[in-house]
Symmetry: C3
Subunit: 154 residues, 3 copies
Amino acid sequence: MRTIIVIAIGIFTFFALVQAEQSRLEHVTAKPEVLESKPFAEHYVVFHISTDDASIQELVLNNAQNLSSHYGVDSVAIEIVAYGLGLRLLFKENEQAKRIKSLAASGIRFSACENTMQKMKRTSRDLVSVAETVPTGVARIVELQEAGWAYIRP
Amino acid sequence: MRTIIVIAIGIFTFFALVQAEQSRLEHVTAKPEVLESKPFAEHYVVFHISTDDASIQELVLNNAQNLSSHYGVDSVAIEIVAYGLGLRLLFKENEQAKRIKSLAASGIRFSACENTMQKMKRTSRDLVSVAETVPTGVARIVELQEAGWAYIRP
Amino acid sequence: MRTIIVIAIGIFTFFALVQAEQSRLEHVTAKPEVLESKPFAEHYVVFHISTDDASIQELVLNNAQNLSSHYGVDSVAIEIVAYGLGLRLLFKENEQAKRIKSLAASGIRFSACENTMQKMKRTSRDLVSVAETVPTGVARIVELQEAGWAYIRP
């Protein structure tokens, strides 16, 4: 009888510990589902651009590129979320369009806010081809932070 | 005797595990005490406004409103912390005063920095009636982040 | 025999719990190694400055000083990371140089981005003497956030 109790406690303890550790690891390493493209990323960074100040729009691209060089393209997941007047960074006619395409080719993700697009009466066809869209830019930034991403607002 | 040891270890293990899990959950879900008003919130977002640029002051209100619409008023806790020149957003005479009252009515919290108020020689009576005050705006933003809130600086 | 099993389980359980708690605490309290200077800090805050707007450069210094006063110098670790045009805050000839030295004396850390220095053809000798350098300013900010630091972009 006592032997059974001992074994039962042992088994219970073992699984409880395994479970506790798993749920801890799940929390610690929780990352959003967008990352099939970056299976080896060790750093996750979301950039916020909501101004049409050309020098800040250029800075956000410089920052993303420097981070990629610093860590290596495969070691860092980067997403640039554009909304408000910052959406203009992703307009086809923006002078940075060519550079954006080249950064996207290296795995940097560009997200345009659909709320802003509607307000500005723009559709996906008005955006640089590599841009993806998200329903609400600011909610996207919130959710990436919730998933453990670092946040940079240049 | 051995039975007592077995039971003692069992009880110890059980409470130790319960305790470990509780302290883990406390950390993971720790939220500041301000939230009696939002018992069902699933998202927590603090906005930083420290500029008197009218377009950024309007943007921060737009962002807060869009987040509320996106998640639903009860699912997101939002606090806008104003300090430095950004305090002017909360002045009674600001053109956004009416809109701020309406956003506050929907549960968005507005916090004015008392440090800044003192520097600008303003009292609570100079602020829009729904504004609350905090001793140091930047410390408020730090503490909300420490409690797991996402941070947005439009 | 059963006694040995009981004791073995007890020992195993004890160390497993200690280990689980330690790894939890390590995660929760993980802080970068820069903090020998602030062994009693309870708050960790990184400030981002990437603009040469003089009013924002002054604001970032005010914010750091207010945080120090609010929590007490020993209770808060503060690092100001300057990159892009924000690097100019750390130039020797900046009008804030004297104030920066005094803030550094109270334990606030100033980090200059080497990437930016190279681009601007500046060396450490062009910077205020208390400034330290980091290879990539934006990566520094990312890593401090990963280590649990709050982020403020005035």
